[in-house]
């Protein structure tokens, strides 16, 4: 029985019946240990722990709040970006875009490749505009006077006053920049039709009114034709910066680049002549550039007309007897390429434009390179109407004025008059998103959404439409401007979204033949663009060219002339509070954070201005009539003697911390000439040297490439046609018996990249140097802005820069002479970023292995591991590594220049996929490794191998001219493999020793033997051989 009996025991001691167990069995708690009381040691131990724990707990780490969704939106997954097709609209400037959002915040803008207008291109301003969304200076609420109020109060005030003014028969004026949105137009029409005395006036900060008028004279229709540079074999630009600041620059750059590429066995390219005063981006890309005075633009046009007319047997006109270098050649080439050529002028003088139209008509370019059927609708501003509005305001006739997203007090020449007389109107409203120069003077501030928060549509070119959709809920208590207008026109509960949708239903849905409106709408919204057929027929030139030419002959100036241009960064100044644009080096001058005046070498010598190698210069006093301003002088090679270049966009007084009082406002210098605002001042200009010293911030202070063939390799077309290797410099390393290519002698056997081998190709021929890639890179990679002082200390953080070199007249042996640029130099742009060398010199020298080589050919930077010896940067032959000299984030010192890392609002723009670097670490281009990783994950999820085009780097995506190609050269089918004509070594197909077959491809500094993975294609100029 006992075997059956279960024995329960509490512990092994009981089971074994130990002696010690028996001894204590009567006690409830076993008490093996001695006195449980706390000893002195315990007390000290606990006290020590307690104090240190309390101390540690007091050192609180900053609380970072992350609030989870209570109800997760269906289409938002943390860490998964969403993309929305939308439209960038800034005044008349337009671009079809795709907005990348993360967790509901727009963080990046890229071009919409579906657009037939911009074709996926963007420019620097478009790229930067995402930061303007998070501008601290934006109005957070509507205001009456200085008092923040609700929208109801605003509406009550505005409608009450409008009714009163209308009842009294007072003028109501709605002032805006060019409106390219048809739905906005219809909202405005609703508004103007509500009030009988209301009218709508459009003006443009940089006006094309002269062009509109000239076309009215030439064709009977006031329009701006659209151009197709891709069909042009010969391009002549007369002071027209069509690649830079022109209204259609994004599309022009795309088209132009296609004529400059020499891929796929192409051996022909366009020839580009440029006649201009300032060295513009366009002039820098020209094959032949002639510096002319602004007052000679007319003479150039007339002379060109006569030369072309003579050759074509047409009647010549009087005038244009001056001789200009290259003009005869230009005429010959134009005639030879009849029907496949284009002449463009950037002048706002209708007479010049008429002559240019006549030249194009003579050459038969209408219908081929120039289209009048689908005119560009991005510049409709009427200078005369605006001018009469100003006088109406002055005389008190205008009783109510609404400034719809425009800032004429700043960007109209008569802004000062508007500012003075604005109080005469009983109702002044501004819908500007910040209290700018105009809004601050208005009684009612009714802030509009940022375009990234808005619904809208746009018609940049007749028949080409683009939709805007909000990528974020409005950050502040703002209201869509169109909704305000609708509200004020009596619509009870205006909803601009339904308004746009309704318009599209009425305008396009029926004609589209789609079966379901929702499907049609969703498709339009998804694509972002929509095209309709255009039925209007081509127009015929009927202008009076001899009349125009006669009017032009009278201008003969001798004094200094001011030529006003738009800065490539801040443009018209509308986005002046955007540090990305201030820190974007001007493509030509490489100036950042500063407003300079460019003068020619000759004039500088005459006036006693000097620039040293560190951008030290003098302030000049520029006076034109009553206008007086002190501006630093930059001596600019290529500047026409007798002319001064100065840009608009600066000198804003109410713009927020970033740009307040930076530079001077030169809009007042624009004066009406022939009924439109002229951007040249040809008389009464005085420039005096104040001898006050000043230092400009430039990111590049040495301008020539010192004849170094291993840096820049270029040639001319004729030589290229004979030998595609023309211009190539192939260094050789001497062995005792032989000379071999550098890199073939190596102690290392080199890497094998078994999966991918990332590489980049950059075509120097199609890179226009515009700089949109720089801004794209900054936004994508959270690159810190450092401000003027730090740039003067040569510490800009840009991962990608564009080296701009001027040619020099000196011989290669004259090393001092080579430092001096030619008077009218040839220019070459070279985007420069980490070259991801296969034998990277930075990797070997890092003591802590913080920069290493990936298995895919990337040179990687591990910020966490970096201790900041800067040895890697010193040893980088390309000087592309950037060191965090200070803490650029959460640092009061960089609060103004780097809001993206220093304000709660600004931080929303940061790309969460890229670490914000801390002080003391090195950083550099990563080939957008976060994009590579995300593409890998996507393909993995889709259970496929990666394919070409899965990874597009930020710079590549932003390049309107397609000069940057990135991809995997292990993949024989990739675009880059084909472009570079990569031939694998059959014994080591994935090794680094791939042969690059493209005769134009070279690596910079090949002789150093670091074997970069960035390849450049030679620059080929379409010039006569002797000139090269």
């Amino acid at each position: 029985m006992s075997e059956q009996k279960k024995i329960y025991w509490k512990g092994l001691e009981q089971l074994r019946n130990d002696e010690s167990f028996v001894q204590h069995a009567h006690q409830e708690f076993s008490n093996d240990e001695s006195d449980p009381g706390h000893s002195r040691r315990d007390f000290l131990r606990m006290m020590g722990f307690g104090i240190s724990a309390a101390t540690l707990a007091a050192c609180e780490t900053p609380v970072r709040k992350a609030i989870p969704y209570v109800n997760k939106p269906v289409d938002i997954d943390a860490s998964i970006p969403n993309y929305y097709a939308s439209t960038y609209i800034n005044g008349g400037d337009y671009c079809s875009i795709v907005v990348k959002t993360r967790e509901g915040r727009p963080i990046k803008i890229e071009g919409n490749t579906l657009s037939s207008v911009t074709k996926g291109g963007v420019n620097a301003q478009v790229e930067a505009s995402v930061l303007s969304l998070y501008d601290d200076f934006r109005l957070r609420k509507p205001k009456l006077g200085d008092k923040a109020v609700s929208w109801e109060e605003v509406d009550k005030e505005v409608i009450g006053k409008l009714d009163a003014v209308a009842a009294a028969g007072g003028q109501i004026v709605l002032v805006s920049n060019t409106i390219i949105s048809p739905s906005t137009f219809s909202a405005i029409n609703k508004f103007t039709s509500k009030y009988g005395t209301a009218r709508h006036i459009q003006y443009d900060a940089v006006s094309s009114y002269g062009v509109l008028k000239s076309n009215e004279e030439s064709f009977g229709v006031a329009m701006i034709p659209s151009y197709d540079f891709s069909k042009a074999k010969v391009i002549v630009g007369i002071a027209c910066d069509f690649l830079g600041s022109w209204h259609g620059a994004i599309e022009a750059a795309t088209q132009y680049a296609s004529t400059r590429k020499l891929d796929d066995g192409k051996t022909e390219m366009s020839r580009h002549y440029q006649f201009e005063s300032n060295l513009s981006l366009t002039g820098a890309n020209a094959d032949y550039r002639t510096a002319i005075r602004a007052s000679q633009e007319g003479a150039v046009a007339v002379q060109l007309y006569n030369l072309v007319a003579q050759k074509l047997g047409a009647a010549t006109v009087s005038g244009g007897n001056d001789k200009f270098a290259q003009l005869e050649n230009a005429a010959n080439d134009l005639v030879a390429a009849k029907g496949a050529s284009v002449v463009v002028s950037g002048s706002n003088d209708k007479n010049i434009q008429v002559v240019v139209n006549a030249i194009n008509a003579l050459l038969g370019n209408y219908g081929t390179t120039i289209t009048t059927e689908r005119p560009a609708l991005v510049r409709k501003g009427n200078d005369e109407q605006m001018s009469s509005f100003v006088s109406d305001l002055e005389s008190g006739k205008t009783k109510a004025v609404i400034f719809y997203n425009c800032n004429p007090v700043y960007d109209h020449p008569e802004g000062e008059k508007i500012a003075k007389s604005i109080a005469k109107a009983s109702l002044t409203v501004s819908t500007a998103s910040s209290e700018d120069e105009t809004a601050s003077l208005c009684g009612v501030k009714a802030p509009d959404h940022h375009f990234l928060e808005s619904w809208n549509d746009a018609e940049p070119r007749k028949g080409s439409f683009s939709l805007s959709q909000p990528a974020i809920t409005p950050i502040f208590i703002t209201r869509q401007g169109q909704e305000s207008l609708l509200k004020w026109s009596g619509v009870e509960r205006p909803d601009y979204f339904s308004f746009v949708k309704g318009n599209w239903k009425a305008w396009f849905y029926n004609a589209s033949g789609a079966s379901d409106f929702q499907m049609f709408w969703d498709k339009c919204l998804y694509d972002g663009v929509y095209e309709t057929a255009v039925t209007s027929s081509a127009l015929k030139f009927v202008g009076n060219v001899s009349g125009a030419a006669t009017a032009l002959t009278s201008t003969a100036a001798s004094g200094l002339e001011v030529v006003i241009y738009q800065s490539y960064g801040v443009g018209t100044g509308a986005q002046a509070n955007n540090p990305l644009l201030h820190e974007l080096p001007d493509p030509i001058t490489k100036v950042v954070w500063d407003h300079v005046l460019t003068i020619s070498v000759k004039d500088a010598a005459a006036l006693g201005f000097t620039n040293d190698g560190e951008s030290n210069t003098q302030l000049a006093e520029l006076s034109v009539g009553s206008f007086k301003a002190n501006v630093p002088v930059l001596i600019q090679p290529g500047q026409a003697a007798g002319t001064i270049g100065i840009s608009v966009g600066y000198g804003r007084t109410k713009v927020g911390r970033v740009a307040e009082n930076l530079g001077v406002n030169v809009y007042p210098l624009m004066k009406m000439v022939n009924g439109s605002l002229s951007r040249a001042v040809v008389s009464g200009v005085k420039l005096t040297n104040t001898n006050a010293s000043y230092q400009i911030a430039q990111t590049q202070t040495h301008n020539t490439y010192m004849g170094r063939d291993s840096v820049i390799q270029e040639s001319v077309l004729a030589r290229f046609q004979k030998d595609p290797k023309a211009g190539r410099y192939e260094p050789a390393i001497s062995k005792w018996d032989d000379k071999v290519a550098p890199g073939t002698l190596s102690l290392w056997k080199g890497h094998d990249y078994n999966d991918h081998h990332w590489a980049m190709a950059i075509d120097l021929n199609s890179c226009t140097g515009c700089g949109s890639c720089i801004v794209a890179c900054n936004v994508e990679n959270n690159v810190a802005m450092v401000g003027k002082d730090e740039v003067i200390r040569r510490r800009e953080m840009h991962w990608l820069r564009i080296d701009r070199y001027y040619s020099s007249d000196a011989t290669v042996d004259d090393l001092r002479g080579l430092e001096v640029a030619s008077e009218n130099p040839e220019v070459v742009f070279q985007p420069m970023m980490c070259q991801h060398c296969n034998n990277a010199p930075c990797e070997t020298v890092c003591p802590v292995a913080a920069t290493t080589h990936s298995t895919e050919g990337l040179n990687q930077m591990t910020y966490n591991r970096c201790i900041g010896t800067r040895y890697c940067a010193n040893n980088c032959p390309y000087k592309v590594r950037r060191f965090n000299w200070f803490k650029y984030h959460d640092n009061q010192k960089f609060f103004e220049v780097n809001p993206a890392m220093n304000t709660d609002l600004g931080r929303m723009v940061l790309n969460p996929d890229v670490t914000v670097r801390s002080r003391g670490v090195m950083e550099k281009c990563s080939f957008c490794v976060q994009r590579i990783q995300s593409a890998k994950l996507t393909s993995k999820k889709e259970k496929r191998t990666m394919k070409d085009g899965d990874v597009v780097t930020a710079c590549q995506a932003s390049c309107a001219s397609g000069a940057i190609v990135f991809g995997d050269i292990n993949d024989a089918e990739s675009k880059i493999s084909k472009l570079l004509q990569v031939e694998k070594n059959p014994e080591r197909p994935n090794g680094i020793d791939k042969k690059i077959g493209n005769p134009r491809a070279y690596t910079v500094l090949e002789e150093v033997g670091v074997k970069p993975n960035v390849f450049y294609l030679t620059k080929i100029r379409n010039k006569e051989e002797a000139k090269a």
Partner: protein, 456 residues
């Protein structure tokens, strides 16, 4: 046939006896600090405090307080580093190589020279520390310590890492060598203190001397250890600056990428080291009245070393230029052209004047035996050697391969402050040393008193 042996040069003058040696040298330690000592020490402290403020600013705000930029990543920091390391070479050379070569004239100068070495190396080491962006991590990440990062090791390919090993080895060997030499002398001071009744001092110096008993066996061990350490440190004299030169020689930057750097740097280091030893000793012998121990003969011998090494350095400069021309590589050619004629021409020509031209004056016996002339020329050599490092570092990188990145370098007050910091540190240490430690190796000098001192 009669053999006439040449007369030995007199190394100690004034007819000193062994007791005199103990007395002359120990009394500096035993007496109260003089007024001039306080003044000098005070100035050093002021420099140190100002320098410490610069260090603080650097650590608090970042390396950006210096004048460095995207192109010139090293300037005064590494210039000062190499300069101080160079100065630190004379000590070991004197104590190790000259010991092996049985150059007995070294005996009265080796103590101070070794002390100078140690302090100079400490000063030098401060620069690689402070120049780091993240010193708080760098000071231990640069060491090959076992860790939990996976385990993540240092990069053994990097010359900076070799520097870490080279400098730390050099420092520890020098320190041990120096301290070991001090032990018998501490015992002398202890014994004198006992006699004088200063028991506190006796206790302290007893501890410092590790209870030295002066037994024959102890002396024997002392001699053997000295010889072993001399043997160990001899290669270090050559290796340290060789490795420092690798920081540049192994890079790809024109002007740095030069195979002659190792011998050129070692010669330069000895050159500047002797100049610094002279500068310090000329002052010390005057202040501490040690003219009988550090004689004109010593000065002259050191000056001869300066002519030799200065000429080697001069030949190296010219060789670099010849190769730049002979090699016909664009960037290399321009780097040297720019050195001599570019925006930093003044630095280059200061270097040439101070290092190559002015030391040639020592060919004249009158000049090399003149104390004032020696003092001035030694100072000039040290200035020249500072410029040499500045020229190599800054003029090479400020205009390297891509002209788009060419910049200038402008030092800020904190660059200067950091340099002053090391001066403050060096002299504070040196004056403490001079006051509390015997500045001349009594034990060794006593060994030559019988044979080579001037008889009364």
């Amino acid at each position: 046939m009669q053999v006439t042996s040449t007369l030995r040069e007199t190394l100690v003058t004034g007819g000193k006896s062994v007791a005199d040696v103990s007395h002359d040298i120990s009394r500096q330690v035993e007496g109260k600090p003089t007024r001039s000592w306080w003044a000098a020490f005070g100035i050093s402290l002021v420099l140190l405090v100002f320098g410490a403020y610069s260090c603080w600013m650097l650590l608090w705000h970042g390396v950006g307080v210096w004048g460095l930029n995207k192109t010139v990543g090293w300037a005064w920091d590494i210039t000062n580093f190499v300069w101080w390391v160079g100065i630190g070479h004379a000590g070991t050379l004197i104590s190790a190589i000259l010991l092996l070569f049985r150059q007995r004239w070294r005996m009265s100068i080796n103590r101070a020279a070794e002390a100078m070495t140690i302090f100079a190396v400490i000063c030098a080491a401060s620069f690689p520390g402070f120049h780091m962006g993240r010193l708080w991590l760098g000071f231990y990440w640069a060491l090959p310590l076992p860790n939990t990062f996976g385990s993540l090791w240092v990069n053994f390919n990097s010359p900076l890492l070799w520097d870490v090993f080279a400098i730390s080895t050099y420092f520890s060997v020098s320190l041990v060598f120096w301290y070991m030499g001090l032990i018998p002398d501490f015992a002398v001071i202890r014994d004198r203190a006992v006699k004088m009744g200063h028991m506190t001092r006796a206790r302290i110096y007893n501890a410092l001397s590790f209870g030295w008993d002066g037994a024959a066996k102890t002396w024997m061990r002392y001699e053997s250890v000295a010889l072993i350490l001399a043997g160990l440190s001899t290669p270090l004299v050559l290796s340290v600056h060789t490795i420092v030169s690798f920081d540049f020689a192994t890079s790809v930057i024109p002007g740095w990428h030069t195979t002659i750097f190792p011998p050129y740097f070692v010669a330069g280091a000895i050159f500047s080291g002797f100049a610094m030893v002279l500068t310090l000793l000329l002052v010390t012998r005057k202040v501490f009245k040690l003219e009988d121990y550090i004689t004109i003969y010593h000065v002259e011998l050191m000056n001869i070393i300066i002519i030799i090494t200065g000429s080697i350095v001069g030949v190296a400069y010219i060789t670099e230029f010849f190769i730049a021309w002979y090699g016909q590589v664009d960037a290399e050619y321009y780097a040297f052209y720019n050195r001599a004629t570019g925006p930093y021409w003044w630095a280059y020509w200061s270097m040439m004047t101070c290092n190559v031209i002015s030391p040639q004056l020592f060919w004249f016996k009158k000049i090399r035996t003149n104390l004032m002339a020696t003092f001035i020329l030694a100072a000039i050599v040290n200035i020249g050697m500072w410029f040499e490092r500045f020229v190599i570092i800054v003029t090479s990188i400020h205009r390297d391969y891509l002209p788009s990145s060419w910049t200038m370098f402008h030092p800020t007050i904190y660059d200067i402050g950091q340099y002053i910091f090391t001066f403050g540190l060096f002299f504070t240490f040196f004056f403490l040393f001079a006051k509390f430690f015997p500045v001349i190796n009594m034990a060794e000098v006593k060994s030559i008193i019988k044979s080579t001192s001037e008889k009364k």
